[in-house]
Symmetry: C2
Subunit: 422 residues, 2 copies
């Protein structure tokens, strides 16, 4: 299997058993090489002995943002919980965000807890999501990248330990479960390896909906993390991944649903949608690790990662936590090619250009000194081959964030990697 996987020879032997197909799908038994990943074939249910109509995304009724309890509901529920805390005035309505407590900085993405060992802190985050792409291996990678992203947002580049949290759907057949689960686990694990960490444990349960997530933990010196509260007037805002993952994922599902497809087919071709979907998968499974490392090199004043509450939601939370009286103004929206048009064709559904469209494993939104931002963008492109964009500025204000009336949409093309496969 392994040589085939490495050279990308198509599988022609129809009698090959499903397990061998899994091995091929995941790029052979060893650590994935860049070539193996680039040559990965898309997931085809039938090549694993599953019905061609099998879709992983069918095992949850919610995707992306939908899986979170709405912000305002959570705020209300937490009000009761935190009412007796002295620090309650500071508390953030996101429970994903740390609950405030004395002697502890309130993390926006990960919690930072001082340890008994002098000078060290525990930096920790957890996240889990429902399937939003149909390729189980990619879903595992995306889930892992999504968990790690909370550490990277704090400039932490090394994860000391990863736990995996997996819920297998009760609605899958045994065959489906036995094919899909190892592929999800493998994707998750490969992503952890790519990040220089390993999955040491976790929990696997059965549940009506399939869910995948984890817990990322680091014990860090103060120099290893950047507390995201230090933006100053004159900084600029950099975003490291394009927006529109949720739109792309939905548009791709609508290829199978005539009435939904009819709604958008005037603005987008099937090929556009497939390319956008590939770009979204590529983007969501990409680690924000280099982005985090370069935050130190270019003296970032703070960052957050863009996920379920959209660009503006996360920008507002970041603004709210600043020490200085600053506000964020966003002028440019880099969006996966054609997805702005799809979002517009869907009316108010996504609110992409308003900054509310959910992203999964989105980019870092970073406050950088103006004179460093261009070099930051150039460096990340040189190292990873992906663009980053200056999307806004930090001005004097009351710790809020907004997008200007007619932001400039930057069309971000699907990345061409080795021709047809991406």
């Amino acid at each position: 299997m392994a040589p085939e996987a490495r050279t990308g020879t198509p599988v022609t032997n129809a009698s090959r058993d499903a397990f061998a197909a899994v091995q091929l799908e995941i790029g052979g038994a060893g650590a994935p090489t860049v070539a193996a990943l680039a040559l990965r074939r898309p997931f085809e249910p039938s090549s694993h002995g599953l019905d061609p109509s099998f879709r992983l995304t069918r095992f949850s009724d919610l995707k992306g943002r939908g899986c979170k309890v709405p912000q305002e509901v959570l705020g209300r529920l937490l009000d009761g919980l935190t009412a007796d805390e002295a620090a309650s005035a500071d508390h953030d309505p996101l429970f994903h965000v740390a609950i405030p407590r004395h002697g502890k900085w309130i993390g926006m993405d990960a919690a930072i807890t001082p340890l008994r060992a002098a000078g060290l802190s525990l930096v920790q985050t957890t996240d889990f999501i429902y399937p939003l792409v149909d390729d189980p291996y990619m879903m595992g990678k995306i889930a892992c990248a999504n968990v790690l992203s909370d550490l990277y947002a704090l400039g932490v580049t090394d994860c000391d330990n990863m736990l995996m949290l997996l819920a297998v759907s009760t609605k899958m057949t045994e065959r489906e479960r036995d094919v899909v689960t190892p592929m999800i686990m493998r994707g998750f694990k490969d992503s952890a390896m790519e990040a220089g960490t390993m999955v040491s444990g976790g929990q696997t349960v059965v549940n009506p909906w399939c869910t995948i997530g984890g817990v990322a933990t680091t014990v860090a010196q103060p120099t290893e993390y950047i507390i995201p509260d230090n933006a100053v007037v004159g900084d600029v805002l950099v975003l490291t991944k394009p927006l529109g993952t949720q739109v792309a994922v939905n548009a791709h599902q609508w290829l199978d649903i005539v009435e939904r497809w009819n709604r958008i087919k005037l603005v987008v071709s099937e090929d556009d949608v497939r390319k956008a979907y590939q770009r979204a998968m590529d983007s969501m499974s990409r680690l924000n690790r280099v982005a985090a490392r370069l935050m130190h090199k270019y003296n970032a004043h703070g960052a957050t990662d863009v996920t379920g509450f959209g660009l503006l939601g996360h920008a507002q939370t970041l603004a709210k936590h600043q020490k200085n009286e600053v506000s964020f103004v966003i002028h440019n929206l880099p969006v996966i090619s054609k997805m702005a048009a799809v979002a517009k064709a869907c009316g108010n559904m996504f609110q992409l250009l308003q900054g509310h469209s959910a992203e999964t494993s989105g980019g870092l939104l970073i406050c950088l000194p103006r004179e460093q931002a261009a070099a930051y963008c150039k460096d990340i492109e040189k190292q990873e081959g992906y663009q980053a964009w200056i999307i806004g500025i930090v001005e004097k204000g009351m710790r809020t964030a907004r997008i200007i009336d007619k932001p400039r949409v930057i069309e971000v093309p699907a990345k061409e990697k080795d021709g047809e496969l991406w």
Copy 2:
């Protein structure tokens, strides 16, 4: 509200709003005092404006053991995942257990990961469960005690950080959700406080089934944990909580189901079942922290906590990890009063006396030097007012565990606390 809660005055004002009732239920707005907890009234849905028929346990189709992927299935799924690991021969079929890796001890209950900071290790565990009692506050406490128990099994007594993982059921009405969620959170948080730690963050999502769990993390010196692989011939086995929580929880639900109740009513009275249920809740919400602390004082050779795979399942896993050629033989089964009879009346359903009945937040099963075991049991009873039992011995053998043919069943009565309330 607070004074009433402290004195336990019954609530007679029917017009009291539900929020106030919540405050009373959870022992007032401040930290719970021992008195407030002892005087806690049972959860009554109608006193919170909910339908009297509301049952938290209805929001999941599975309870206890059922929520875990069966041991043999998980083993198969993980075979693929670990096939390429050099250490695969050592791997444990429980994914709840750490996946083996080089340079890292394979934890049975929590993962232990050496850190970059010299001499320190990360001790970490995660667990989540579906509701198995109908009192949301108690459910939160039980879930937290259940997570912490994995640390305590390693003799770790201090948890540095706790994350809470909560899934709110999509099937709850808004009203039900708004009443129940803060109570679960409060129970979880109070239990964390009792353990000397705090909930710093987590994740809240919606899901068809309600689930509650968390992640417990400690950064520890080698002297703070006891690697559970050092049992020697002549040791004895101590168990710190009675068995039968799953039986008690089920029997209690059968009070509402005539055909099930008919099956057991010859061996048990309604009052017996209610008392057993209270004892089970009390036991499941009790921390194994003192048990862990005393492991150091009495030179324990290793321990595990008894949860979803039952006493024998966990004893076998512990035996398998021993350095020495030893086996465990169990002679005595302390069981919540009358629950052995209930289990027998249900045929093979629970397999309680065979050691397979699932426990939630069960006791520690500890290998202790023979001459220290009695003192250990005496000390824990003195400190906590709860009995522990010597239930078996460590003899020469091939790292297995068994229960003798006719084990002695020790009937453990419901704890009488302040008369009627417990």
